[in-house]
């Protein structure tokens, strides 16, 4: 019975003009995103990891004595091979870390000449799903109840021994199936295109992420299918349903998610760059040097200062990320925001990725420092005292050695499992929305007079 309804609805969708238009647009946008991304990725990939120089010389060796006093290095974040899924931040947020051996000094965006010409940012699949397909969900469902009610076919259907729940479920499943078909075909085409272009080589975890993203998208779309059905059930005619859906869609997809940035700016204050600068300047006051200190004590105080500076930087970063998250938490009423924050985590992009990159950079620096200190132990001429920004003398070894694997900076993207774990709360909320929306739609439809009131 259910299957009969689903089949008819599906056939109806597939034959309609709106379905073809939706299909064409989705296909076009998703493949364009791939083409655009692959040229961007090829450019970015060239830069990584060529920037992991600086600490070591051309032969890959490090001069232990010089490393403490000579600036540092810049490491570049690995460009995500899945930037086409979720691009937000991929081209805006810092992508390199500047560090000395004893402390991270800043996170920056490597700018290229010509970046200023860039426009409004890249189109990613998250965008296609949140804007275009969510709208498509409404397009397929907005008059499925109200329109049939007006046309009188609904009574003809309900004159048969089918329950209203079955009818509603049939319409829901058919619209979701139609949308999923559009989405999955475009997704597959996109993936095949990606393989054909050959610039990106997704690994096993990446395929997993793409799969999870697809699943997540379908859950998200089911919320919007139900939103369309809700609008259809609660209104008297298709015109009203269309208006109702439009307002809901506008609010959920445009207004609320866009308020995120604004709300983030208004809620929770972060320190300005100048205030942070001031805070960094007071660090020496907290770790004072006195003339009575031994050379070892001086060295350790100086190291403490550097690590305090790094801590300050990381705390600052955390507060910035926290502010952004806070703003986005407030927009979680909208499934569109939920979806994009879940996609951000599953794909491993945005602030989630930035935090991870900072952690990786710090871990790399610490590992390198350990390796250097370890190497110094084997030098009998050294006094084994590492003093930041201090050259010369024999307090530290002046040997040149190969630090081995410690010199390799490997920026590891969060795995699919980690991403999904981080996104589980969002996914749960999305599922909850689906269930709630279906319950409300059913509750309303079950009690509705489906026949037009005589004389009305």
């Amino acid at each position: 019975m259910l299957w009969t309804i689903v089949k008819r609805e599906l056939l109806d969708h597939v034959m309609s003009l709106r379905f073809s238009a939706l299909f064409a647009l989705t296909f076009l946008l998703m493949t364009t995103a791939i083409l655009d991304f692959s040229s961007y990725y090829a450019r970015e990939r060239r830069e990584y990891p060529s920037h992991v120089e600086g600490f070591v010389n051309d032969e890959g060796k490090v001069n232990l004595g010089m490393i403490a006093c000579q600036g540092g290095t810049t490491v570049r974040a690995i460009p995500s091979p899945l930037g086409f899924l979720f691009a937000t931040g991929e081209r805006e947020l810092p992508n390199q870390a500047v560090m000395a051996l004893h402390g991270l000094s800043s996170l920056e965006r490597a700018t290229e000449p010509g970046d200023i010409m860039n426009g409004s940012g890249a189109t990613d699949w998250t965008f296609v799903v949140t804007v275009l397909l969510s709208f498509g969900a409404g397009l397929l469902t907005y008059k499925s109840i109200s329109g049939e009610r007006r046309d009188g076919t609904l009574t003809l259907v309900l004159a048969n021994p089918v329950s209203r729940a079955t009818v509603l479920a049939g319409k829901y499943l058919a619209a979701l199936a139609a949308l999923s078909t559009v989405f999955i075909i475009s997704l597959l085409a996109g993936v095949i295109l990606l393989e054909m272009l050959g610039t990106v080589h997704p690994g096993g975890s990446d395929w997993m992420k793409i799969g999870l993203f697809g699943l997540l998208s379908i859950i998200f779309l089911s919320v919007f299918v139900l939103t369309g059905l809700l609008c259809s059930v609660f209104t008297r005619g298709p015109v009203l349903s269309a208006v109702a859906f439009l307002f809901t869609w506008m609010a959920l997809v445009f207004v609320i998610p866009n308020l995120g940035g604004i709300l983030a700016g208004l809620t929770g204050t972060v320190q300005t760059p100048l205030q942070i600068h001031e805070a960094a300047r007071t660090i020496p006051d907290r770790y004072t040097l006195t003339s009575s200190m031994s050379a070892d004590q001086v060295a350790s105080v100086k190291l403490e200062r550097e690590s305090a500076r790094e801590q300050l930087l990381l705390e600052y970063l955390r507060s910035l990320v926290h502010q952004v998250d806070l703003g986005r938490d407030l927009t979680r009423v909208s499934p569109a925001s939920l979806f994009s924050s879940a996609a951000e985590r599953i794909v491993g992009g945005g602030t989630f990725r930035l935090t991870r990159f900072a952690d990786n950079a710090v871990r790399y620096r610490q590992g390198f420092l350990q390796a250097v200190i370890e190497a110094d132990r084997h030098d009998p001429k050294s006094e084994h005292r590492y003093v930041p920004w201090w050259c010369g003398g024999n307090h530290f070894s002046t040997l040149t050695m190969d630090p081995g694997p410690a010199k390799e900076f490997r920026d590891v993207l969060p795995s699919a499992g980690e991403g999904f774990a981080a996104a589980s709360w969002d996914v749960f909320l999305l599922v909850l929305y689906t269930v709630l929306a279906f319950a409300v739609a059913f509750w309303r439809f079950a009690r509705q007079d489906v026949a037009p009131v005589p004389g009305a």
């Binding site: 946008l29 805006e92 010509g114 200023i116 010409m117 426009g119 804007v131």
Partner: protein, 520 residues
């Protein structure tokens, strides 16, 4: 007659739920966005003023002519409330004898999270990941949707209800009916628009730190007018579709699909198509060209022999920047001058050569940008955003203008500086500060000072701090400030014309259609 219809349409619109909902949404959005952006503008003005002060002080502290570097700060536009523009645009341009500014110079620290206090943005750099939303965005998305909502069923709906025949059975002409509906809807839309603009003006007036000249108000008026034009374009487009649709609800949905295409799909595809139609110049080529120029320059620079005859002290030398000698003997200064006659013009030339290499790439970027913009022009939203951006002066062209002005200013500056490069003040002020020259008597004195007071005392003597700064009163000062509003309006003209023309086109098409509109 028209007035009568307009009044009826206006009343119908104003009493509808859609108006109320749309009005609340847009007034709220415009209020919030306006507030945030006015605050943002105030913060950026503060930063700008602090920067100007800092750069002016730094310039006033300059001791020799060769180290003069002028940082031209670009003031934020008060109209950024309407169009925020790219956040990647640098806020200052460096002008020095060794650096000719160009469009694509390294912008200072975008999205930098560090402890050094240098960031072009006052707030949280991570907020860049959110799309920048401004009043232009609110108008081009929310109000345009609102426009669609107001009129999508104005013909098909009346036909469905059967009131259309009733209307036309009276002596109302079809064109009158169209005009009435159009104007009625436009007036309705003008209400949230006007409220939004009033909100912004109120925020401006109430903000304690802001005050504006007349040109800002004129530009605001221009933006208001172009917004009205944009909305009427959208209205007539929606009316046109309503005249072709069989059923009003599907008309709405097709309009929206069209809207998504116009507002979202076209801008998204344009960048990619532009890349394949007219590729950006070869960046690697540009980099290697400027690296070549640098290498060439260094080769010649190093080949010119410098034979030192006198002595100097506290020197700073940089082939790509100025030079300063705190303590230098008379004879050595003359020797240096003779050497500089060969070298300094070369340094100046190198600045120009580097500029040329970069500029040819910038030129290709500009062409690429123009192609991309043209590809996006079928979208009415983009045309409108272009107009607002140009009037507000937050577009790339305005920044480009600022860079060009800075470059022209460099010409004036060089005219002033070039004669100076033939004087010793180019690199030293030795003649009014003889006690730092490493003469024998001086050195004996320093030795005794070190023994008595430590090294610090000598460092103090040898510091540039004690040298009086140059008197730069006669140096031409950069023409800071935003371009005139008339100039900006001229920038906006082409897009304004497109906006106007498409608006007229849609109206004309609708009128033709309305004359042949089937009533059954």
């Amino acid at each position: 007659m028209i007035l009568h219809i307009v009044r009826k349409e206006l009343l119908v619109n104003l009493l509808s739920m859609r108006f109320l909902a749309g009005f609340i949404v847009s007034a709220l959005m415009m209020g919030i966005v306006g507030y945030v952006l006015v605050e943002d503008y105030a913060a950026r003005v503060q930063k700008y003023l602090a920067d100007v002060q800092e750069h002016r002080e730094a310039l006033a502290q300059t001791k020799v002519y060769s180290t003069i570097a002028v940082v031209v700060d670009i003031p934020p536009s008060p109209l950024s409330v309407f169009s925020r523009g790219s956040q990647d645009l640098p806020t200052s341009v460096l002008v020095s004898p060794y650096h000719t500014p160009s469009l694509i110079d390294e912008g200072g620290g975008t999205a930098t999270i560090g402890l050094s206090g240098t960031s072009s943005q006052p707030g949280n750099p991570l907020l860049r990941m959110f799309s920048s939303i401004d009043l232009g965005f609110v108008i081009s998305t929310i109000l345009s949707l609102f426009a669609v909502l107001l009129v999508f069923d104005s013909f098909s709906g009346e036909r469905e209800q059967g009131t259309l025949k009733m209307l036309l059975s009276s002596s109302t002409g079809r064109v009158h009916l169209f005009a009435g509906k159009f104007l009625g809807a436009l007036l309705t839309l003008a209400i949230p628009l006007t409220v939004g603009f009033l909100e912004v003006m109120l925020l401006w007036a109430l903000h304690p730190a802001l005050s504006f000249g007349g040109s800002v108000w004129v530009s605001t008026g221009l933006i208001y007018l172009s917004s009205l034009m944009f909305l009427s374009g959208f209205l007539s487009l929606a009316l046109l579709l309503s005249l072709y649709a069989r059923e009003s609800s599907s008309c709405l949905m097709y309009l929206l699909l069209g809207w998504v295409t116009v507002a979202v799909v076209i801008p998204a595809g344009a960048e990619f198509i532009a890349d394949s139609v007219r590729p950006r110049g070869d960046r690697e080529n540009m980099l290697s060209e400027s690296a070549n120029a640098r290498r060439e320059f260094l080769k010649v620079y190093e080949s010119i022999e410098y034979r030192q005859i006198g002595s100097w002290n506290n020197v700073s030398l940089d082939p790509f920047a100025g030079e300063s000698f705190l303590g230098i003997t008379q004879e050595e200064a003359l020797n240096r001058l003779a050497y500089n006659r060969k070298v300094v013009p070369m340094k100046f030339r190198y600045a120009e050569e580097r500029y040329r290499a970069v500029e040819s790439y910038a030129q290709s970027l500009r062409r690429w940008g123009r192609t991309r913009d043209n590809l996006m022009r079928p979208s009415l939203c983009v045309v409108y955003n272009n107009v607002v951006k140009a009037i507000a002066g937050t577009d790339i062209d305005s920044f480009d203008d600022a860079v060009q002005r800075a470059r022209l200013y460099r010409g004036a500056m060089m005219a002033y500086l070039e004669p100076k490069s033939a004087t010793p003040e180019w690199f030293t002020r030795v003649f009014e500060y003889p006690d730092v020259q490493p003469t024998e008597s001086n050195q004996r004195y320093w030795q005794s000072l070190i023994e008595k007071q430590g090294e610090r005392a000598v460092e103090k003597i040898l510091s540039w701090d004690r040298v009086t700064a140059l008197d730069l009163a006669s140096m031409p000062s950069p023409a800071v400030g935003a371009p005139e509003s008339a100039e900006r309006a001229a920038h906006a003209l082409p897009d304004g014309v497109i906006l106007f023309a498409s608006c007229l086109l849609f109206i004309a098409l609708s009128i033709i259609r309305v004359l042949h509109y089937p009533l059954n």
